[in-house]
């Protein structure tokens, strides 16, 4: 069986800087996989390569065995590969409900239609309302996204991604900016996704990583330092020195 998501020798250079170097990952379907590494390690860049925001300098991306290296972003989403952003990337002037309904309309291929008003799309509005309720966002549904506090906007960020019904979900520091009490809840919703949904998440809070990840990839200076179970990663001296050590000091 081919992996849900695989990269081969993936690299990205920004001028003289190698942000991602020769990364070969293999993520099986249904995985709960964490990507960790110090700031500037290239984690976000890797997600940008996987989703097609950036073009790789070298290497390939495969989705369920199909090479998607040159596929535009929106078509990767149509194939079930969705991401969230480290820094909220939302629709400030749309209401929370409108935003999620829009994502659902896009998923269903209805977003280019113009004969019926959005307000008559009952099924999509219903689905969006339910999704918002799982994040306790229902009372904010009619507010403009820009009016929400950052932490609540963070939830919209994730709700938007889930509205696309991803097969593979890439989360770039989903809990950043959320109070730690709530971050457990947020990752709980993600962990509770159907077992066949593959999740790759970047997270700095080691408590959350060890709690939710089955496997961990450690990225340092654009390269994969190691990959293994949380126990293996915790035991690894190199990781301790390079990553956990720095974390403890800084």
């Amino acid at each position: 069986m081919s992996a849900a998501l695989r990269t081969a020798g993936l690299s990205k250079r920004f001028g003289g800087l190698s942000a991602v170097s020769d990364v070969s990952l293999e993520i099986p379907q249904g995985a709960r996989h964490a990507l960790i590494g110090p700031n500037g390690a290239g984690k976000t860049t890797l997600i940008n390569l996987l989703t097609g925001v950036l073009e790789p300098s070298a290497g390939d991306v495969f989705l369920g065995g199909e090479r998607i290296t040159a596929l535009p972003q929106h078509l990767r989403v149509k194939k079930g590969l969705t991401r969230t952003f480290q820094i909220n990337t939302l629709f400030p002037g749309l209401t929370v409900l409108e935003s999620v309904v829009l994502a659902i309309l896009e998923r269903k291929g209805l977003a280019a239609r113009w004969m019926r008003p959005v307000s008559s799309h009952r099924a999509e509005i219903g689905e969006a309302t339910e999704l918002l309720a799982t994040f306790k966002l229902d009372r904010d549904a009619q507010r403009r996204t820009a009016e929400l506090a950052y932490g609540r906007q963070r939830l919209v960020e994730i709700a938007l991604a889930l509205a696309t019904r991803p097969k593979i979900l890439l989360l770039d520091e989903p809990a950043a900016g959320i109070p730690s009490s709530e971050s457990v809840e947020v990752l709980g919703v993600i962990a509770a996704l159907p077992a066949d949904v593959t999740v790759l998440f970047i997270e700095h809070d080691m408590g959350l990583v060890f709690r939710f990840a089955e496997r961990i990839t450690v990225l340092v200076a654009g390269r994969v330092l190691m990959e293994g179970t949380p126990e293996e990663v915790a035991r690894n001296d190199e990781v301790k020195a390079v990553y956990l050590g720095r974390e403890a000091h800084g």
Binding site: T51, G52, P72, Q73, H74, V77, K78, T82, R83, F85, T89, L90, F91, P92, G93, L94, E98, S99, V101, L102, A103, L105, E106, R107, L110, A111, A112, R113, W114, M115, R116, P117, V118, S119, H121, L160, A161, A163, T164
Partner: protein, 322 residues
């Protein structure tokens, strides 16, 4: 629910204003037609700028194309108005479709330059093609037939006014539908955050190409309407000044609301008519001042300010009720 019905009532009242003007101000029908036509033109810019977020400094290119298309048709003997209107829209749509591939790519600054460039290009082309367009003298000899074969254009401008009103209303109804549809929501999504749209699976380019083409078509229809009702097409119909003034009107009225385009066009043109009668230099001065004030103190334009005031009023009356 009652708020919705209240909204409807205000809308109906709004559309009764131009009809009342027709009955009460017969001496101003020429100006009135011009306002209706420019309002239509402003609506076309509102779709691409107010909804889709594409800045443009050359939108008059499509207005002028529509004007010349309909004007030339009539000058060469095809004076049937409705088909002329359609021709203006189609020609402008074709040009808009082609241009959209250049416009959609860039960032704001690139878009400003590209649209500006397209406008200047067409202006110069129309200027050089004097054998066809009449060049700086303009295209005259536009002889219009009757609308539906019944209503002839009269000297008093009654037919022209009602014709312009009908076209404006029809296009408005179409745009209202378009902007409240999923397609319209996706355009607002692109305006609000073009980086997020592909991440929810939206083909941003294709949507913008569609929106830009529709916007160009409507601008073309507005241009054709001007050619038909004034029976003349001047080079200024696709000049930079017209594009710039259009942008001012839309910002003044408020973008992304449709009604803002109409209110902006009306306020602008009435003020221009009045103030430039007093003293043309003053007009530029007041216009400049008004613009600066609006950009700094009322970002949503006139309609934005009205909405904010209505909201404040609603809130205070709610508090009083409590």
């Amino acid at each position: 629910m009652s708020a919705l019905r209240g909204g409807r009532l205000i809308e109906v009242a709004f559309w009764l204003v131009p009809l009342a003007a027709f009955l009460l101000l017969p001496g101003y029908l020429m100006l009135g037609s011009q306002i209706l036509i420019v309002a239509l033109f402003a609506l076309s810019l509102d779709l691409i700028l107010g909804y889709a977020g594409i800045v443009s400094l050359g939108h008059a290119a499509f207005f002028g194309l529509g004007a010349y298309a309909a004007g030339l048709l009539a000058a060469k003997g095809w004076g049937e108005p409705l088909s002329g209107l359609l021709a203006g829209g189609v020609i402008a749509a074709l040009a808009g479709f082609v241009a959209s591939f250049l416009v959609v790519r860039g960032e704001d600054l690139a878009r400003l330059m590209v649209t500006l460039g397209i406008g200047l290009l067409l202006y110069e082309a129309a200027n050089r093609a004097a054998f066809l367009t009449g060049g700086v003298d303009g295209l005259s000899g536009v002889a219009m037939g009757k609308i539906f074969g019944v209503f002839a254009f009269d000297i008093g401008g009654k037919t022209a006014y009602l014709y312009s009103f009908a076209v404006l209303l029809l296009v408005f109804i179409f745009l209202k539908r378009l902007t409240s549809s999923p397609f319209g929501l996706s355009l607002r999504g692109i305006r609000e955050n073009p980086a997020r749209m592909p991440a929810i699976g939206s083909p941003v380019r294709a949507r913008l190409v569609t929106a830009y083409t529709i916007g160009a078509a409507i601008a073309g229809i507005a241009g054709a309407l001007l050619a038909q009702t004034t029976q003349f097409v001047g080079l200024d119909s696709l000049g930079f000044n017209r594009s710039a003034e259009l942008l001012i009107m839309l910002v003044l009225g408020g973008t992304g609301r449709l009604y803002g385009a109409i209110v902006g066009a009306a306020v602008f043109m009435i003020a221009q008519d009045y103030l430039s009668g007093v003293n043309p230099v003053y007009w530029q001065f007041w216009l400049g001042l008004l613009l600066v004030v609006f950009v700094f103190f009322a970002r949503g334009g006139i309609l934005g300010a009205v909405e904010a005031a209505a909201k404040r009023l609603g809130r205070s009356s709610q508090e009083r009720a409590r």
